[in-house]
C-alpha cells in the first residue's frame, strides 16, 4: 500500500465544504460562550449592502459598500479586538431595527452604541448629531454651536465624515446653510435616499 492513498479518506474539496458547514454552529457556540468580541453580519437595504458590527457594548460600526471591507475589518482589529467573527444572533437587534427604519417607519433607534471607533472630538459631534430627530435637519454651524465650538463648522464636517455608525447616528441630517446637501461619506445619492425616506427631501 502507498501511504499517499490515505488522502482518499479526506478529499480536499469535501473537507472545505464540511468545514464551511461547521462554521455556523462554531460561530453560535463562540457567541454563546462570550468569545466573540465583535460580531459582524451583512444585510440588504435600499442604500445597498450594509456591513454591521456589534460588540458587548453595542453597535460599533455600519459600513456602506463604498468603504473597503478590508479597512473596516482592520480598524475593528486595531481599535476593538482581533476576535471578529461572522455571527448572526448578536447582530439580530441592529439588523432588525435598520430593517424597520427602512421598511416599517421606525423613527428612532434603541440600540446601545459602542463609540470606540470615534476620536474624542468626533464623539462629542456625533452625540450632538444624535439629537437631531427623524425628519429634522441641522446645519454644520448649529452642531458646532451645540458643542460650544461655534467656529469649528469645518472640523464638525470632518468629524461627521468619519462617522463609524451612519444611518443610526444620523449625520445625513446635517446640511449646508443654504439647504444644500454638501457631502456624505457614503455618497450624495445615499444621503438623498435617506432624507427622502424621512420626508425631509421631496
Amino acid at each position: 500500500m502507498n501511504a499517499k492513498e490515505l488522502k482518499r479518506l479526506a478529499p480536499a474539496a469535501k473537507s472545505e465544504a464540511r468545514a464551511r458547514g461547521a462554521t455556523g454552529s462554531l460561530a453560535a457556540r463562540a457567541a454563546g460562550e462570550g468569545l466573540v468580541d465583535v460580531a459582524v453580519a451583512t444585510m440588504d437595504s435600499p442604500v445597498g449592502e450594509l456591513f454591521v458590527a456589534v460588540t458587548s457594548k453595542g453597535l460599533v460600526t455600519v459600513a456602506y459598500e463604498t468603504e473597503s471591507r478590508e479597512e473596516v475589518w482592520q480598524r475593528l482589529v486595531r481599535q476593538v479586538s482581533p476576535r471578529v467573527l461572522e455571527a448572526a444572533a448578536p447582530t439580530d437587534d441592529a439588523r432588525r431595527e435598520l430593517e424597520e427604519y427602512f421598511r416599517a417607519g421606525r423613527r428612532r433607534f434603541d440600540l446601545g452604541i459602542d463609540d470606540r471607533l470615534m476620536s474624542a472630538f468626533a464623539r462629542s459631534v456625533l452625540r450632538a448629531t444624535s439629537s437631531v430627530g427623524f425628519g429634522e435637519l441641522a446645519t454644520y454651524g448649529e452642531i458646532a454651536a451645540r458643542i460650544d465650538r461655534p467656529k469649528a463648522a469645518r472640523a464638525v464636517g470632518r468629524a461627521l465624515g468619519s462617522n463609524p455608525i451612519p444611518i443610526v447616528i444620523p449625520c445625513h441630517r446635517i446640511v449646508g446653510v443654504s439647504g444644500s446637501l454638501t457631502g456624505y461619506a457614503g455618497g450624495l445619492a445615499r444621503k438623498q435616499t435617506l432624507l427622502r425616506l424621512e420626508g425631509s427631501l421631496t
Binding site: 490515505l6 480536499a12 461547521a22 457556540r29 475589518w73
Partner: protein
Amino acid sequence: MSGAHRMLPPFQEFLEANRATVYRFLTVAVGPTEADDVFQEAFLAALRAFPRVEEPDKLDRWILSIASRKAIDHHRRSARRPIPTDDPPERPVDDPAPADPGDPLWEAVRSLPPRQRVAVVHRHVLDRPYAEIAELMECSEETARANVSHGTKRLRELMS
C-alpha cells in the same frame, strides 16, 4: 499592540484560510463522525487564545498544533470511557456513516495509536516535512520520524 510585529488578521479571515486544512486533518486523525466536534473545540480554543498570539505569521502551524493536541486528547478520552458490560447499544440511526464505510483503510487507520495516527496524517495527508510535524506535535524530529514510520509500517501490514 506593538507596531513592531505583524498585525493579527480578523479571526474570521484566519478561520476561512485554515478551516479546510484543519477539517481534512481531523477527518482522518479522529474519523469523519467525530471531526465536527473536534473541529469546533480546536477553533474555540484558538479563539480564546487569539488576542495573545505572539507569531501572527505562523497562524497556520499554530492552529494545526492545537488541532493535533485536541485529536490526541479526544482519543485518550474515548479510551478512558468505561466499556459497557452488557450488550452495547445499537448505533444511533442519525450517526453519519464514514465517507466510504467499505474502505478497509479506515479500519487500519483506526487501529493506530493516537500519536502515530496524528503523525501519519500530517505526513501523508497534509505532506508536512518532519521538522514541522515535530513542531506541531511538540516532540523531537527523531520522535516525529519514528511515529510516522511505525504508523506507516503498521498500515502497510494491515493492508497487505
